[in-house]
Amino acid sequence: MAIPISYNIRNLRLRKGLTIMTALGIALTVTTAIFLMALLTGLQRAFVSSGDPLNVLVLRKGSEAELSGGFDAANFPTLKNLPGIAKDSHGEPMASGEWVVVIVLPRKDGTGEVNVTVRGMMPDGLELRPKVKLVSGRWFTPGQREVVVSQSINKRFSQANIGDSMQFGKGPWKVVGIFDAGGSAYESEIWGDVNQMASDFDRQGGFSSAYLRATDPVAAQALKNRVSDDQRLKLEGVLEPDYYAKQTSSGTPIKIIGWTVAIIMAIGSSFAAMNTMYAAVAYRSREIATLRVIGFSRPSILTSFVFESVLLSLLGAVVGIILMLPFNGMTTGTSNAVTFSEVVFSLRMTTQVLGAAIVFALIMGLFGGIAPAWQAARRDILSALRD
């Protein structure tokens, strides 16, 4: 027969101080773990959601990123006339030759300078990124020194409001609009006209990359192969989602440091939980013996104490989750290992993150509870009663 759960709950409530302190210790560990997992989830999402399966990114053969690409603009008409490209609103093939440069901007809060990606594009560049929406202002006009910035750039850097001028390249650029990139990697970019950008950075006559939009996913695959196989071009086609999937490696330093921290903290809190459970067992040795006399079996006592420890850690997990809630959705940035520029992302407490946090707490509870529960179950009835 199992010991009722209410017994454990009442026991935890009886020694309030001890329970609260142990649970708080576990909560701190859970908070740290959630913070790190939410960080990684947000980063992952920034990259995964960036790629559009219909878009084929064209780079110079052998180059791995837009930044290190660069090819002759004379190749662009050939690319544009490849079969399988969707038509834009003017009935032309939807393709955009682009220039990507990295500039250094100071953060608004004064915590240092950050590399930011500036992308020059053709008018079709806006059309082939339908997920990106204009929030306020208007898009840049081709041929003008105008830029649109993402929402997070607008928030994080000074001189990035509509009507401001940003200083980079050879002079001021007027900010005319703010766009929402839906948490994708574009959330960290500034966009403008490709010809203006190229002349500002003395890169006329070339593109760092080109984007082609295919009519359907099958055509995208074919288009990608056609670009890569064309011997004259010496270019390489990549499906946009594949390109961004590779960049998720930027999260590796956070991942390594994060897990080291979380695991060390978890070991520390498990020991604390173990201490609390040993004390719980010691206080109740006579009670446990009585339970045995009444007829509860050893396994049910073992289960009951393990369960109490798990309950304690779950309480900690809940407190930890509540402590972290205000940080959900907070935006932050880290350096992109491929483009060397900052990628902005939000902390995401998804159900997976919460689930993992609870499992994490459960493991701490189990680890801390098994040895004391084992001791409780094995105690000799007579000597315990005499205590």
């Binding site: 990295v102 500039i103 240092g112 060390i264 604390a272 040993y278």
Partner: protein, 383 residues
């Protein structure tokens, strides 16, 4: 029985609890010490003495833009400049694109690079051999060990930024502490293979005669090119490295919040233990008081016990951290840390002080309560 031996005996009356508490505090302090070490390396350490004499000049817009090669002579003409080495980040692949096979590769001028980077130790004959061979490379001893490279071995890198796959011969192997696992090769090779790189360079690595001149000279360099199409930004080597750390995100806040959580965790654990042990000893406290111990005496007994536990646990944690830092700084992961991780006596001392302070703080309230126990009540206490 002296007071201190009384404290020690009491601290270990429940061995299991004391050990668990110490382990718990130990792990927390291990983390704290690690974080403090990282903080120290990033923000306090000035780096190698040589490093303070070195400047890095890059394109003002960003490191990804080239700057002209003729800047070199102009920089060299500034009084106080000892050597100027042109550098370019090659960023190639070796074998495959797995992250563990990645290492830094630079194209530079062998004639002047080692004057600027005088802290790299290379046998003179190897330096000469490297200077003579246009397709020669100089590699870090640790890196050579990892791949089993010897002088005279041939390796091929695959260019990603530059459209060329250089075939290099290892001519020199240098030693530096801490190792940086990098490869340097002759920029002439790159210039000849890549037309767009001709007459260009990525950044300049400048050594000045005295560390006091650093700010004057870096200002002078930037003034030289202020109105040119390629303006520059010059900073000390340390500031340049800090720029990369700043890009990782808000590292300072990250470290501080972890430290805060850890310190608070120590406080909780230690307070918990001391509260448990005082609870068990209510009758004992009353007895001590009957024997003539003052409130103050009782208070200091418990506080001493808590501090002793925290210090022993903290000591274990600090030791563990020291071992871990030594291990990490010799592993591939430690190479990415500019300046290298190092554990100092100061950091250890501060960590132990934090532990002691937490032990003290956590015992205050429960011990104060215990010292106020009414003798008659306390003697009657069961449990």
């Amino acid at each position: 029985m002296t007071l201190s031996s009384f404290v020690v005996r009491n601290a270990f009356r429940n061995k299991r609890r004391s050990i668990l508490t110490m382990l718990s505090i130990g792990f927390s302090l291990l983390l704290l010490t690690l974080m403090m070490t990282i903080w120290r390396t990033f923000y306090i350490d000035a780096g190698a003495p040589n490093s303070a004499q070195r400047l890095i000049t890059r394109h003002k817009v960003s490191l990804t833009f080239f700057i002209p090669g003729y800047y070199r002579d102009k920089i060299r003409s500034i009084p106080g400049v000892v050597a100027v080495a042109p550098m370019a980040w090659f960023g190639g692949r070796y074998k495959d694109d797995k992250p563990e096979n990645f290492f830094a590769q630079f194209a530079t001028d062998p004639n002047e690079y080692l004057v600027a980077a005088s802290d790299k130790v290379v046998p003179a004959d190897q330096v000469e051999a490297w200077k003579r061979d246009r397709a020669g490379a100089m590699v870090d001893a640790e890196l050579a060990k990892k791949y089993g490279w010897k002088i005279g071995d041939k390796i091929t890198l695959q260019g990603t930024i530059f459209p060329v796959n250089p075939e290099l011969t290892i001519r020199a192997i240098y030693k530096i502490d801490p190792p940086n696992r990098a490869l340097y090769f002759n920029r002439t090779y790159l210039e000849e293979a890549v037309p767009f790189f001709k007459g260009q360079t990525g950044f300049y690595y400048t050594r000045v005669a005295s560390a006091d001149d650093v700010s004057r000279i870096s200002g002078a360099i930037d003034d030289l090119f202020h109105n040119s199409p390629q303006p520059t930004k010059t900073e000390s080597e340390k500031a340049f490295q800090l720029g990369f750390i700043a890009m990782l995100g808000n590292v300072k806040a990250f470290i501080l919040s972890i430290c805060g959580a850890v310190v608070f965790a120590i406080l909780l654990v230690s307070a918990n233990t001391i509260a448990m042990s005082i609870r068990e000893r209510t009758r004992e406290v009353a007895m001590l008081k009957t024997l003539g111990f003052t409130r103050r005496g009782v208070l200091s007994l418990f506080v001493g016990e808590s501090v002793a536990l925290a210090i022993v646990g903290g000591g274990l944690g600090v030791l563990g951290a020291a071992l871990l830092v030594t291990a990490v700084s010799h592993s591939p992961a430690g190479i990415g840390v500019p300046g290298g991780l190092r554990m100092t006596a100061g950091t250890m001392g501060v960590a132990l002080l934090v532990a002691a302070a937490m032990g003290f703080l956590s015992a205050c309230l429960p011990a104060y309560n215990a010292s106020r126990v009414n003798i008659v009540e306390g003697l009657r206490h069961i449990g």
